[in-house]
């Protein structure tokens, strides 16, 4: 491909940022032109490379710095290549003296990792069959201290009692005997529906009288003792969250 042809492909402004760096750009040019990486025509490649830089529009030294270093390196190589060859020596040795050797090695190295990056990308996007771990977002929830102390619960309960005493005027007759086992079942069911847990006071939302409140409270203590539920308080005097004791 001639420079003109490359330039005509560049009707738009080249976005250098789409290349990960000068080596990436060079590799692109080599592949575009189907060149042998071991025998790069330095003169034409460095011209193309420079055309790209010129076509890239705004001249941001910050972004261009690395590209310019490569440009000067290429120009230096070009001039070395133009120098008359030294008298023929051993063939092997003359190969070692090829000024392009360092560049070839760099390009090969870079290409290797570029392939590896592509592989990683395919893995991430699931193009390669892969395993998935459990999503770990939950592990980064704020640390919560286990607060199964009953004193804390008693305090909350006392507050509740005070609330009930205020509304003593309306007295509902208990609907028969309240069974603690039933209440345990009731709490479990409530919590099953809310794996994220419930605020302690909300457990008592449907309670109609003191007797029932007491039964519910005793049931809760029993569930705590059996370690079927847990009570968690994020901070002292904060809300107590009651939840089923399963780990998710």
């Amino acid at each position: 491909m001639t420079i003109d042809k490359v330039m005509s492909n560049l009707a738009y402004v080249v976005d250098l940022e789409s290349f990960h760096g000068p080596l990436d750009l060079l590799l692109y040019l080599i592949e575009e032109n189907e060149l042998d990486i071991y025998d790069i025509p330095i003169a034409s490649i460095s011209d193309q490379y420079l055309s790209y830089l010129q076509a890239s529009g705004d001249f941001d030294l910050d972004k261009m710095g690395d590209f310019l270093i490569m440009a000067s390196y290429l120009l230096n190589l070009k001039s070395q290549m133009l120098l008359p060859k030294r008298p023929a020596v051993e063939e092997e040795e003359s190969e070692l003296l090829d000024p392009r050797q360092e560049l070839v090695q760099k390009l090969l190295d870079y290409k290797k990792y570029k392939n590896a990056a592509e592989y990683l990308q395919q893995r991430q996007s699931g193009e390669i069959s892969r395993v998935f771990y459990r999503s770990s977002d939950l592990q980064y929830l704020p640390n919560r201290e286990l607060a199964a102390e009953t004193t804390m619960l008693f305090r909350a309960y006392q507050t509740l009692l005070r609330e009930y005493n205020k509304s003593e005027g309306t007295y509902l007759l208990p609907q028969g005997d309240v069974n603690i086992a039933d209440k345990m079942e009731e709490i479990s069911n409530l919590l099953h529906r809310k794996p994220e847990g419930m605020v302690f006071q909300d457990l008592f939302a449907e309670v109609h009288n003191l007797r029932e409140a007491l039964a519910l409270f005793l049931a809760l203590l029993e569930l705590l003792r059996l370690q079927r539920v847990q009570a968690i308080q994020d901070q002292a005097f904060g809300e107590i969250i009651v939840s089923l004791r399963v780990a998710i």
């Binding site: 760096g21 893995r123 395993v131 771990y133």
Partner: protein, 172 residues
């Protein structure tokens, strides 16, 4: 003392909750059971667990560490499910990550040499994302920090160990 079945159940629960590799030593400690006994049990458990090719979850053993993860057979479905909000890594970040993965422990200067550009910003970004870690210092002048990949790296790319990375060949 736990029964055989209970030990297996407990191991399952532990691996499930931890969501990362758990060493056999740690299992011994948590379960309070002799190492040799646990080893035998784990062998049985893994073969039971992974026997059914259609199971969604499997338990792998990698160098004395156990890991619960999905069956690769379902990677299609799970990729489809992945939340679209999941941020993809930029090509430049992937390049850098590839170099770190294959050459760890590797210093910033070594990375920059391969890529031909500065890597400060990208390395900091990868550190923030928890995909790489500072491993230590290279014993040369200036003691530069060396970097390597993290557990999170394995998790994001669905690898069970670094050994799973394919050999990269020198292409022409």
């Amino acid at each position: 003392m736990l029964m055989r079945e209970e030990v297996m159940g407990a191991v399952e629960a532990i691996l499930f909750v931890r969501a990362e590799q758990v060493g056999i030593d740690e299992l011994v400690e948590i379960l309070d059971i002799p190492l040799l006994e646990l080893r035998v049990l784990m062998r049985e458990m893994l073969s039971d667990y992974n026997q059914n090719k259609n199971r969604g979850v499997q338990i792998l053993e990698v160098d004395g560490f156990y890991l619960m993860c999905t069956n690769p057979a379902y990677s299609d479905i799970l990729t489809r499910m992945e939340k679209p909000g999941r941020k993809r890594l930029s090509p430049a970040a992937l390049d850098t990550l590839a170099i770190i993965a294959y050459r760890q422990p590797v210093t910033r200067a070594e990375i920059e040499q391969v890529r031909g550009v500065k890597a400060d910003r990208i390395i900091n970004n990868l550190l923030e994302k928890g995909l790489i870690l500072e491993l230590g210092f290279k014993p040369v002048v200036g003691k530069p920090v060396t970097y390597g990949t993290s557990e999170e790296f394995l998790r994001v790319f669905g690898l069970t160990s670094l050994k799973e990375l394919p050999a990269i060949m020198e292409e022409t």
